[in-house]
Amino acid sequence: MLKYISKRLLLLPLTLFLILLFNFIVLNLAPGEPSSVVQISPEGSQSSNRGTASSLMDRYLIFREHYGLTLPILFNTWPSTTKETILEKIDHLQAFEKGAATVLAKTYEKDRLYLFDHARFIMPKLLAIMENNSLSPEVRRWATLAFIRGGFVFDGSSDASNRMLISLLPEKKISAENLQKNIDQLKNWYHQVEQQRDYSPNFQEKVKIFFTETRFWRYFSRVLTLDFGTLRNDNTRYVIDEVIKRIPISLTIAGIPLILTFFLCQFFGYWGAYRDGKLDERILDLTLLILFAIPVFVAGPFLIEWVGLKFGIPVYGFSSPQRIYQNLTSWERLKDIGAHIFLPVTAVLYGSFAAQSRLTKHLVQDISHQEFIQTARAKGLSEWTIAWKHIGRNLAIVLVTSLAGSLGVLLGGSLIVETLFEINGFGRFFYEAILNRDYNVILFSSIAGSFLTLLGYLLADISYTLLDPRVHFT
């Protein structure tokens, strides 16, 4: 059993990794970048920004560098960019700068980002273009710009060389001699740092770059240190704290129904199985089927309007407002929370209760047709003992598995319920993050949600092995 559980535990990180990967790909497939250009720097996206110095160091580019957006998403093949591609891009750029109508501002912006993002990985090729006297000065100037951009290091460790690089930025109307002078200096600088900065990687280093110099790797290494970043509109609050603060609320909303379901479904399941075919069973069965089919976003408003408001049961929040809540005694607080979560819990509960009750009924029927039950009957055991000991134990095994596995579904249901009842839980937090496009929260929440779901499965397996002595996973 230990072996099996440890296998499960080993699978857990793998699953989480794949989920992380999946989420990350989806997030990066989004139209526009995580923070779209217009929001960050209105001038950065416009063609008005044709100047050179600012186009190299504008706020948008710095922002991109800071968030690692200059890197490719999953795999980095940039060291293998061909010289022809680079020349083609530079051609577009200088044509646009000259005012050619064939190149659109959008293409210009795209190619500029392309070139500057790639610069760090194609330094030798850029240098070759710069040194090539047969090319036009404009082309060489753009290569120089990209080269300087590539040589720039943002971690604050190379201020001296950064300053040197900026001083060598070629002006827009730079003369050929001055450009040549700048290029010569840059070449000297390049040969000094070439070894130290691995500008011309060998095969092994290329493989390393292929996997590690990517957005995903950067994000993943941050995740490994449990650094999930801060909220989008408040960078003093950490995502991980905010989510963890809300998880107990959501677990209450989803967990209480889980426990209640476990007891209720056995009661109704036995009822259904023992009265099979009778009128009361058929009514019960139909009721359960109907309950199962009613979606939670219909039941929620129904409970609010026809139960909560009619009978004066609170319908908003997890507890009374803080100023009232603070003055209550512990017992009153408990009552307060109980009254507040009565309706939300009902809304999450009824669906899984109906499904599990029907399952229980079928299980009880299946088990009671097996031979060992008939043996027990033949032995003269009372029907109570059979139901409690012989059927009950076999039933519990399947039921616990099915219930623990439904934690994910319950969390999804509690998302809608929390939104409707305005409970400040994990699901609602996630929903609001989705509306605000708060990527850090979305990523962490889906990971946390997956983690809870998997935890449910793990608990299911453990209880399965504990409850059923026949099971030996090998």
Binding site: L11, L14, T15, L18, I19, F22, N23, V26, L27, L29, A30, P31, R282, L286, L289, I290, F292, A293, I294, P295, V296, F297, V298, P301, F302, I304, E305, L309, V315, G408, V409, L411, G412, G413, L415, I416, T419, F430, Y431, I434, L435, R437, I442, S445, S446, G449, S450, L452, T453, L454, Y457
Partner: protein, 452 residues
């Protein structure tokens, strides 16, 4: 098989009700334009016969959504489908080709130069607006009282305070008259035109769609204040479109989502599951791990995330995503079925005579494993419809569509103070889902070999 199903229906009379409801639901979806549209089915005007609804049926400027166009085409193809039901692929192929053809060579607007449709349409809308005004007149006193209470001050009680299309037209005319106050000829022309319309409308005979005389994408007048007085079938939505028409056309979306995403999910899930169950060993191992990872994701969270991030609120995208997250159920069922079947004598016999693996898998194994697929089909459709409505309910559905979830989302805005817009779609949706569940239960019992 049919006998078994009949037996189940006899045992469970409610199932019959569910089946009737779902049949009505299907018929409503198919014949929606005949139930709610602002074009008459048949009209006689100035000695001419008109069939406007049929003229507009395939015109993409009138029914803008591909779903509606497809369903409308289906109405015309229905006889062919019924006649050739034994060779279903033939009408299906023809249908597909026609749909493509219509996509590239769309039907022209019936109102065009050189025909009398323009005049007919003018008279028709004049008549319809007048009729709406007449229908709403009984609510005038109550509406007047409410308006006075809400706005305060003294408001004169006249039919012109009703928020109807008729009054919009009258106000427009009034403004035009004021603008041209110095041109008596122009005013005379306007009045002459009105009198013409009034006169002509008396000679218009028309058979309107059965339930509502509004197109679901059309401005139908009305406002939230008037809504509080009206019975549910006369309500207008927040964007002043007719609610009942939207409900009628919303059935189409529910059906497309339900069947579309389940079909897609089955296309992914069935081959995977069958292959895993048949080949076992590493295929199965790999597959089971994949399933575990896939099912470890909190599905509803993922659905929301993908929809929100890709910012694509189209119904097709929703169908695709629901399928991508829903195929595992099918795969699991078919896998366990395949595990059982693979050792049955007929498969072993096929192996002995040298049938290829692919042939065994797709020709012998999969069709027999399909039984369990059909047993859970209604429940899967239920799940898909419910997921789509849930996402739409949270405000991430296709804007401007008549999906029941979108309608509920609109009703939620003023909830719980004014919930009259929430309940009609909510009840229709619930009835649909419950019917699917009851029918699904019946089918499952009928297919269950143990229940003989």
């Amino acid at each position: 098989m049919i006998e078994k199903i009949q037996k189940q229906f006899r045992k469970q009379p409610v199932a019959l009700l569910a089946a009737i409801f779902l049949s009505l639901f299907f018929l409503t979806a198919l014949f929606a334009p005949f139930l709610a549209s602002n074009q008459p089915i048949f009209a006689v005007f100035e000695g001419n016969f008109y069939f406007p609804l049929f003229r507009y049926l395939l015109y993409p400027g009138f029914y803008t959504k591909p779903i509606d166009q497809a369903f409308n085409l289906l109405i015309l193809f229905l006889p062919l489908f019924l006649l050739l039901y034994k060779r279903i692929w033939l009408p299906t192929l023809l249908f597909g080709l026609t749909f493509l053809f219509l996509h590239f060579f769309p039907v022209k607007n019936p109102v065009g130069p050189g025909n009398d449709y323009q005049r007919f349409e003018n008279v028709l809308s004049y008549t319809l607006e007048k009729e709406q005004q007449q229908r709403l007149l009984p609510y005038l006193p109550a509406y007047h009282a409410l308006l006075q209470e809400r706005k305060g001050g003294k408001i004169e009680m006249s039919p012109s305070i009703l928020p109807t299309l008729w009054n919009v037209r009258q106000r427009g005319l009034q403004e035009e008259k004021e603008r041209k106050a110095d041109q008596p000829e122009a005013i005379a022309v306007i009045e002459q035109h009105q009198n013409d319309l009034e006169e002509a409308s008396k000679h218009l005979f028309k058979i309107m769609p059965l339930i509502r005389p509004f197109h679901y994408e059309q401005d139908a007048g009305g406002d939230q204040l008037l809504n509080t007085l009206l019975p549910w079938y006369k309500l207008t939505r927040v964007n002043r479109k007719d609610l009942t028409s939207a409900l009628i056309f919303g059935t189409r979306i529910s059906l497309v989502v339900g069947f579309g995403s389940v079909l897609l999910a089955a296309l992914i899930g069935l081959p995977f599951g069958a292959a895993a169950g048949y080949f076992t060993r590493w295929v199965d191992l790999l597959f089971s791990r994949l399933l575990e990872v896939w099912e470890g994701m909190p599905v509803f969270f993922m659905l929301l995330m993908v929809v929100a991030i890709t910012e694509s609120k189209s119904i097709w995208w929703l169908i695709a995503i629901i399928a991508v997250f829903g195929w595992t159920t099918f795969a699991r069922y078919v896998r366990s079925e395949a595990l059982r079947i693979r050792n049955l004598p007929y498969i072993l016999a096929a192996k002995t005579y040298g049938a290829s693996e692919g042939r065994i898998l797709f020709k012998y194994l999969l069709p027999n494993a399909l039984v369990s697929f059909f047993a859970i089909l209604p429940f899967s459709i239920l799940g898909a419809i419910s997921a789509e409505s849930g996402i739409s309910f949270l405000g991430l559905g296709e804007e401007g569509s008549a999906s029941l979830g979108v309608l509920m989302d609109e009703g939620r805005n003023h909830f719980p103070a004014e919930s009259y817009l929430l309940w009609p779609p909510a009840i229709l949706l619930t009835l649909t889902l419950v019917s699917f569940a009851i029918l699904g239960d019946t089918v499952k019992n009928a297919l269950d070999p143990k229940k003989d």
